[in-house]
């Protein structure tokens, strides 16, 4: 039945199938709404708590613990972080570089890989699809994977290592292929070919413009993945100049005192450091960009997920 989901449905996610006489009762409707309001509170509360703690004063945290409405607000945690955490700006910048270059490169490679797979006249399309797909079934494991990068390519401890492992993703290739199949009619390709266009030309001037939505979707998938990654840094990076914001965040949960015990802070003042608040402030800073841009990219994600769920 999944096959029944056609393009029209993709665009109208929240399409109502209610018609006047088959509606649920007002009471049921109210109950459903209530349930969802509660669930949404449950889902958003954790994030709100983190934000509120980051704005709490140290005294309030010491006395009452973490609260949704702190007894006293202050901005000390943020002030401390920006004043003493000299790695923060640096790691933020690294994240921006890695995310932008990585996403652009990954989207290009995925689009290039998906296009031949979407063409029915490419004889080996299934072979190459399996070549990508097999990687999700079997892998050499963590250790050999690290070896290839550290001993063969020797690109550990550079920004490259934060990009290359995520450049190709079998599922995204399949999603991209579905997008292309759906939005690039074979007839059009055939017509272009008769006009004498080469495959690269067709790819650039016929196929890509037609599946801009697909490109945007994959691009956003990449963006979020690169921005949220801490794992590659955890394994490969040992130079603090190359830390990304998420890895910085990861290491600060246990090491917040690292930032706050800067020698410039006088000993007496150190006892009053807002270390708890500072932790949460870091989390807010690291997650902020994604949460703020979420309303803009949500619909692309939804589309991508649905396309991925349709059998290609």
């Amino acid at each position: 039945m999944v096959n029944a989901i056609n393009k029209k449905h993709l665009n109208v996610l929240a399409k109502s199938k209610n018609f006047e006489f088959n509606k649920v009762t007002a009471r049921s409707n109210f109950t459903i709404n209530l349930i969802f309001v509660l669930i949404c509170i449950l889902f958003l509360a954790p994030l709100i708590l983190v934000v509120m703690v980051s704005f709490s004063s140290k005294e309030s945290l010491d006395t009452y613990g973490y609260q949704f409405w702190p007894a006293a607000f202050d901005l000390k945690a943020y002030q401390y972080i920006f004043k003493y955490s000299y790695d923060l700006i640096h790691s933020y910048w690294n994240s921006i570089i890695v995310t932008s270059i990585g996403s652009i490169t990954a989207t290009s490679i995925i689009a290039l890989y998906a296009y031949p797979l979407s063409r029915s006249n490419f004889q080996h399309r299934n072979g190459f699809a399996f070549f990508a797909f097999f990687t999700t079934i079997f892998g050499g494991g963590l250790v050999p994977w690290v070896f290839v990068y550290a001993q063969l390519l020797k690109i550990n401890n550079s920004l490259l290592i934060l990009i290359i492992p995520y450049l190709v993703n079998a599922w995204w290739i399949i999603i991209m292929r579905t997008f292309m199949k759906q939005s690039v009619p074979e007839d059009l390709v055939e017509a272009a070919r008769i006009d004498g266009a080469g495959e690269f030309r067709i790819f650039f001037s016929v196929a890509l413009p037609l599946c801009k939505a697909g490109l945007a979707t994959i691009f956003l998938f990449c963006l979020v993945k690169f921005w949220n990654d801490y794992y590659l840094s955890l394994i490969f990076i040992n130079d603090h100049h190359l830390y990304t914001i998420q890895y910085y965040l990861y290491s600060m949960l246990d090491n917040i005192n690292y930032v706050l015990t800067s020698p410039n802070v006088p000993a007496e003042a150190r006892r009053n450091l807002p270390s708890e608040g500072a932790r949460m402030a870091l989390a807010v800073i690291a997650v902020g960009p994604v949460v703020f841009s979420y309303p803009f990219f949500r619909k692309f994600f939804v589309k991508g997920i649905i396309v991925g769920a349709v059998k290609g």
Partner: protein, 505 residues
């Protein structure tokens, strides 16, 4: 349509070009002080043959995070260039826990580095890495006539204590050659509570004040990972801190598992009461660095490995006024020879240059002081030839000279005793030499048991050390896991190797 095409072709072009440019710039980025570094790594194959080529050594040491590191690194590099050594360093410091984590992966996976801190108390430790050839065998340098001055500075006997399977792998810091354990306490709080440091002889003597300390708003005990009052039990862990075999200094014949010995279990029970009374920080299980935590000033005391003048060194490093209280007797064990070493990972492409740099840390007074105290004028001012005052607002504070090189070449700060070095000598002479000094356990026969038993230790010690679990049931569980892991085979093997070693001595 045309616009899209243009953008896309540009993107594709970018996608192919960028990775290459990126690899070019990132490799030289950390060593921005040297333009020649990329040239050096490009020509690394024959760099040893061409002495004019500048070699950048990647140096990894354990410490706190140091803000002024980049600045001091530049000064070190300027100095090295000025002396025409053909060496440059790319220096990175880590908290001890990070160092452990990073070096473990690096050494095993062969990621490149040239010089790194190692010791028996970082786990997996020095011996383990040596036995897997993850460090370069430096025997040929030790025997090289060019380096005899360094060997003499360290002392051949001391150096021999670092031998693993008959080969040298690391250069120990030339520092105190004995140790004892004790407390470092905040002086202000001691004064406030009217505690006379000389009246404290045992852990419990100090512990009775902890309730008052807590009432004053301080956390009584600062501890992280293996840096815990467990040290006061004074087990002689000759292999590594997380190895389940050690000697009791009072009985140097039988190997025992210190983690399940009776006196340790009694200790676990005491720690449980400490935990219940709130003597530890709530974060103690995940705490990564005792020094960093102590530096927050939120803690009253911690257990430290001591020596004469330790309180002054740490006071300067942590910028906190500390007093030391000695608890355990002074001993000479493997802990000193293997307590702080510099080793050259076998992944290094420049072992010759790396050793040359290490040797300079022992002979070059300017260099070692630069790396310990920073730049004169900015980080400290000279009071006299050998005495300095550390600037209040310096952002470069290293943990001290014990991390590398020749500590006796360091300047003394005006806070330190002017007779420090003679004190250390007296301290060394007063130490009891334990029988097993120099015994290195060869794990090859019981590799599996060794690894499995260490895994059991790693899994159980935090909750037992910090009293966050029920002692009896956890110890019972730990004992049964030790059994499965093959502790009996392991202990028997260690014992037989030790007996053979004693006989051969």
């Amino acid at each position: 349509m045309h616009g899209v095409k243009k953008i896309l072709s540009f993107t594709l072009a970018l996608a192919t070009v960028v990775p290459f440019t990126l690899s070019g710039c990132t490799q030289s980025a950390p060593a921005d002080a040297t333009q020649s570094s990329s040239a050096a790594s490009a020509a690394s194959g024959e760099s040893s043959a061409a002495p004019k080529e500048t070699v950048t050594l990647k140096l990894m040491t354990g410490d706190k995070k140091i803000q002024g590191l980049d600045r001091v690194q530049k000064a070190v590099n300027d100095y090295l260039a000025e002396k025409n050594t053909g060496l440059q360093i790319d220096w990175e410091t880590y908290s001890w826990d990070d160092l452990k984590q990073k070096t473990a992966t690096m050494l095993q996976t062969g990621q490149e580095a040239d010089i790194m801190n190692t010791s028996s108390w970082i786990t997996p430790g020095y011996v383990a890495h040596c036995q897997r050839d993850e460090f370069t065998d430096i025997t040929k340098y030790i025997n090289d006539s060019q380096y005899q001055d360094v060997v003499n500075i360290i002392g051949k006997d001391f150096l021999d204590g670092t031998k693993v399977n008959g080969k040298y792998y690391g250069m120990p810091t030339n520092k105190e050659k004995a140790h004892n354990f004790g407390f470092l306490c905040q002086t202000a709080e001691l004064k406030k509570l009217n505690i006379d440091p000389s009246s404290i002889k045992t852990m419990d003597d100090l512990a009775k004040y902890f309730d008052q300390v807590k009432a004053d708003g301080l956390i009584p005990v600062c501890a992280a990972q293996m840096d815990s009052p467990y040290k006061f039990l004074d087990w002689d862990a000759f292999d590594a801190d997380n190895s389940p075999f050690a000697f009791d200094p009072n009985d140097e014949k039988t190997i025992v598992n210190p983690f399940t010995a009776d006196k340790t279990i009694a200790f676990y029970k005491e720690m449980k009461t400490w935990h219940d009374k709130g003597y530890f920080s709530p974060d103690v299980l995940t705490s990564k660095g005792q020094e960093t935590d102590m530096a927050t000033g939120k803690y009253f005391c911690g257990s430290w490995s001591l020596m004469p003048g330790k309180a002054q060194t740490e006071s300067a490093s942590l910028k906190l006024d500390l007093t030391q209280i000695d608890i355990t007797p002074v001993e000479k064990t493997n802990r000193e020879t293997l307590g702080a070493l510099l080793a050259i990972p076998s992944s290094s492409k420049h072992p010759d240059e790396a050793f040359k740099f290490i040797s300079m840390l022992y002979t070059d007074k300017t260099l070692i002081n630069l790396m310990t105290y920073g730049v004169e004028g900015t980080d400290y001012t000279k009071k006299s030839d050998n005495v300095i005052t550390v600037s209040k607002d310096s952002d470069f504070t290293s943990a001290g000279g014990w991390i590398m090189g020749n500590e006796f070449n360091n300047y003394l700060t005006d806070l330190q005793s002017p007779t420090l070095f003679t004190d250390i000598e007296a301290y060394n002479n007063s130490a009891k030499v334990l029988d097993d000094l120099g015994f290195v356990y060869d794990t090859s026969k019981c590799k599996t048991e060794y690894a499995a038993c260490q895994a059991v230790v790693t899994k159980y010690y935090p909750q037992l050390f910090y009293g966050t679990c029920d002692v009896d049931s956890t110890v019972a569980q730990m004992k049964s896991e030790f059994k499965t892991a093959g502790i009996d085979t392991l202990l028997a093997d260690v014992q037989s190797q030790y007996d053979a070693w004693v006989k051969s001595k």
